[in-house]
Amino acid sequence: MVEIKGKVIFDKELCTGCLACMTACIDARCPTENAEGVSMRRIRKVTDEKARFQKNICTGCLHCGLCISKCGQGALYRDEETGLVLLRRERCVGCGMCAQFCPEQAIFFDKDKKAEKCDGCIEYQREGRLPACVKACPVHALKIEKQ
């Protein structure tokens, strides 16, 4: 099987707001009994007044890396193998700087106030699988940018 490894790219024009990626992210991350089931994606409303149109889109981490330099603890880093921006949870002090600068608001905080973010389903990718959100998307608004 060909190894697919890379960053997630998102086309908000193509997104239909079907929420499949939102839930697929939960399915990939959470145990069944986890009622809250936190998704690493967010629903955002976009409007086009002129066209009298609005829709929801689901945004998530694009692994741009802006957060890496904002973190004073070195908790965030880019994985060389995949290009994904990953988190060393044990280093996070919960200062929130990364979230403040994230253009996609894709950094979340768990109950211990430690940062949580999309890891591009790196384990899936190592198995040669697509990240859950990319696999779910029925309109290919989410893709993998190959390294």
């Binding site: 499949a20 697929a24 399915d27 069944t32 809250e36 409007t47 009298r52 609005q54 829709k55 029925p138």
Partner: protein
């Protein structure tokens, strides 16, 4: 830990039956992804399917047969064995048959739909004509509208060859994501897509031309398109002369609906109507994509739907390449589905009220007035219901229906969840989900799948068909097809296809049938159309028969619903539209999944910002929606993609169910379908106290 295995299953949450790859470890589901077993499958998933784990392992699952120990509707049950459950069912149903006749028992099919033919056989063997389904408020009205014109079952668009696609209100990006890729590709292929939708939905927004009528005015819009097509002589004269009945009267009738006139009724600019009509008639072949019930959930629903479907006949787009076709592609022949006849030696419920339903038979009784029939307003007493997946929230005034269910002498419901519908029962049976059984799925391209059992059924839950087979044996009821095992029944269904269960088990993900029916077009050249006139009927002779007795017209007439008093008087100045799809909901069942329930506040009351301003309701604020039938409280959402003066709410939420706002009598006289998508309401800021009363306290 054992290794992870992928099981090829299919989703049973809605009716699309999308293929699923289930990752299973130690007998438990680890994760769920869309399956891609052949090149025609999209491989993705929707938000509901992706939440399958919480659906299957839901804490509300019924795990054992249970009998009621408390008062009716109280929800107190006691675990019993399957043996005892069968014993009770046998005793009680036989008792009712003796006392009131077999017709006093209704055999009711809710969701999902896969077991329907077996349930019909059960009803037949018992001797009851009253096999009915939730298609009495879903698919059958559109099918009836089609059959009144073309004499056969509803024909889908041939998307591979069409040049113009008229998408009449199917928001498939949210309701049928398995079609999303194909729909998007149409544009790349140069197909002109015209979308008709009361909202500028994501799906409509992708079209080349968008028509945004008021809810319930689809008929007037379609008749105006016909007006343009006929007056500009763009219709297919040769086809109409040879194969169409009633054209002259139809042409005369549509004269009333000039584009200017229709603009007044529908709110669609006249020039857009003209443009759509010209494209549809000239850029051929053209076809119509429809939804099961967006048009027919109106009090003039069947006629509106007929007006829409008539456009294919006058433009010669019926059963030609790229039009709406009897058989879109290769098909695997099979037994059973659509081939079991309903027992009709005793008149069924609904026959007197909705005779057209029975003259254009769908082999189902009509249960649109079930609540009233149980209350004694039917042709004879209804005393018992044997139901699989009954959901009272499919119907208007659901709480009233549930109260009626509690008055039955005997009511049994087999279901996944201990819903309020099940709590009203005397006996509940645990059904298993599609992930816990093997099931036949017939797909396009003559592809057949025998889905794999991903996990063992939870608790003592069972496959519905297996349960019916065993129950019928227990009751001593004979049926030639259901006398063997479940596997033998599947082999019977498969027989014409040349496949067997044994062979399919060797091919997880499915295979192409051995025997394949190749698509043929232009059926009208080979055989007469199956209507009384033998032609395509723009004026339905079946419907015209009931002009005197039921006031039903043969022509696809348009009736104005906004003449009704509540709207006219100004007391309820807004149009209420319930049930338009939200991507994460499916009727009532998905609200119990926390993963989905957290995605948005429910119920959302979607209003145009100018109505929000007009009635003093801010976005996100609690809002009370009041109709002549009831009131609920929800959360306001502003939506600029919908029309001013229209309120949209999704239904099925306990304590704030939009269907409580629709009165029982607000029905289409032809089909009995509720006018879910065009009733009336007013909105007011929801003060927190009253919001608590109507909604939260009950939850």
């Amino acid at each position: 830990m054992a290794s992870v295995k992928i099981r090829k299953s299919s989703c049973g949450i809605c009716s699309s039956q999308c293929p699923l790859d289930i990752r299973v470890q130690d007998g438990k589901i680890r994760s769920v992804e869309g399956g891609k077993n052949n090149p025609f499958q999209y491989g993705g998933i929707c938000s509901k399917g992706a939440a399958s784990r919480q659906y299957v392992y839901n804490k509300e699952r019924i795990l054992y047969p249970m009998k009621r120990v408390g008062k009716k509707g109280e929800g107190k049950f006691e675990r019993i064995s399957w043996e005892e459950a069968f014993h009770i069912i046998k005793d009680r149903l036989n008792e009712l048959r003796e006392k009131y006749g077999p017709e006093s028992v209704v055999f009711y099919a809710g969701y999902p739909k896969w077991f329907r033919p077996a349930l019909l056989r059960f009803a037949n063997a018992f001797g009851s004509p009253n096999y009915c389904t939730e298609s009495s408020t879903c698919f059958q009205a559109a099918n009836l509208a089609w059959r009144s014109i073309y004499g056969n079952n509803i024909c889908p668009p041939d998307l591979r060859h069409t040049k113009t696609l008229l998408n009449w209100s199917k928001n498939l990006y949210h309701s049928a994501v398995d079609m999303a890729e194909t729909y998007r590709e149409l544009k790349d292929k140069g197909v002109t897509v015209i979308a008709v939708d009361t909202r500028n939905s994501v799906t409509a927004h992708d079209a080349s031309l968008r028509l945004q009528p008021y809810p319930g005015t689809d008929g007037a819009l379609a008749l105006a398109m016909a007006n343009v097509i006929i007056s500009e002589k763009l219709y297919d004269r040769e086809f109409v002369q040879k194969y169409v009945y009633g054209f002259e009267e139809y042409a005369e009738y549509v004269k009333k609906f000039s584009p200017k006139e229709a603009e007044q009724i529908t709110g669609v600019p006249a020039e857009q109507i003209v443009q759509a009509a010209r494209i549809f008639a000239c850029n051929k072949p053209s076809s119509i994509l429809f939804s099961a019930s967006s048009i027919v959930h109106h009090i003039n629903g069947v006629q509106n739907q007929r007006a829409v479907f008539s456009l294919l006949a006058i433009t010669g787009n019926y059963d030609v390449d790229g039009g709406n076709v009897c058989m879109p592609g290769e098909t695997a022949p099979r037994n059973e589905y659509g081939k079991v006849t309903r027992f009709h030696e005793i008149p069924a419920i609904g026959e007197k009220d909705y005779p057209v339903w029975f003259d254009l038979p769908c082999e189902e009784a009509n249960c649109a007035r079930l609540s009233e029939y149980i209350a004694g307003d039917g042709p004879y007493p209804i005393k018992g219901i044997f139901a699989l997946g009954l959901n009272h929230r499919m119907w208007p005034q659901p709480e009233k229906l549930n109260k009626e269910l509690e008055t039955l002498d005997f009511y049994v419901n087999s279901d996944l969840f201990l819903s309020d519908s099940s709590k009203a029962a005397d006996l509940v049976l645990p059904a298993c989900s599609s992930l816990e059984r093997e099931e036949l799925v017939f797909r396009g391209g003559a592809w057949v799948e025998l889905t794999q059992k991903a996990i063992e059924p939870l608790g003592e839950s069972r496959n519905d068909i297996e349960m019916i087979i065993d129950l019928m044996k227990y009751m001593g009821l004979k049926d030639q097809v259901l006398s063997g095992t479940y596997e033998e029944y599947l082999d019977y269904i498969l027989k014409p296809s040349g496949l067997t269960v044994k062979e399919l088990r060797k091919h997880p993900g499915g295979m192409k049938a051995v025997n394949v029916i190749l698509p043929e077009r232009r059926s009208w050249e080979r055989e007469p159309v199956h209507t009384p006139s033998g032609k395509i009927e723009l004026k339905s002779l079946v419907m015209e028969k009931y002009r005197e007795s039921h006031g039903i017209r043969g022509l696809p007439v348009y009736c104005e619903y906004r003449d009704a008093q509540p709207y006219r008087s100004g007391e309820y100045p807004l149009i209420l539209n319930t049930g338009s799809r939200r991507p994460q909901w499916f009727h009532a069942r998905m609200y119990r999944l926390p993963w989905l329930a957290q995605l948005e506040k429910a119920p959302l009351v979607q209003i145009h910002p100018s109505d929000g301003a007009g009635y003093g309701i801010r976005e996100g604020q609690r809002v009370r929606v009041v109709s002549p039938a009831g009131s609920i409280t929800g959360y306001a959402e502003y939506n600029i993609a919908q029309k001013q003066g229209v309120v949209h709410i999704y239904h099925g939420l306990k304590g704030a169910d939009a269907n409580e706002l629709i009165p029982e009598a607000w029905k289409d006289p032809v089909s009995g379908f509720p006018g879910y998508k065009s009733y009336f309401c007013r909105i007011e800021p929801g003060d927190l106290e009253s919001g608590m009363n109507t909604s939260e306290r009950e939850q």
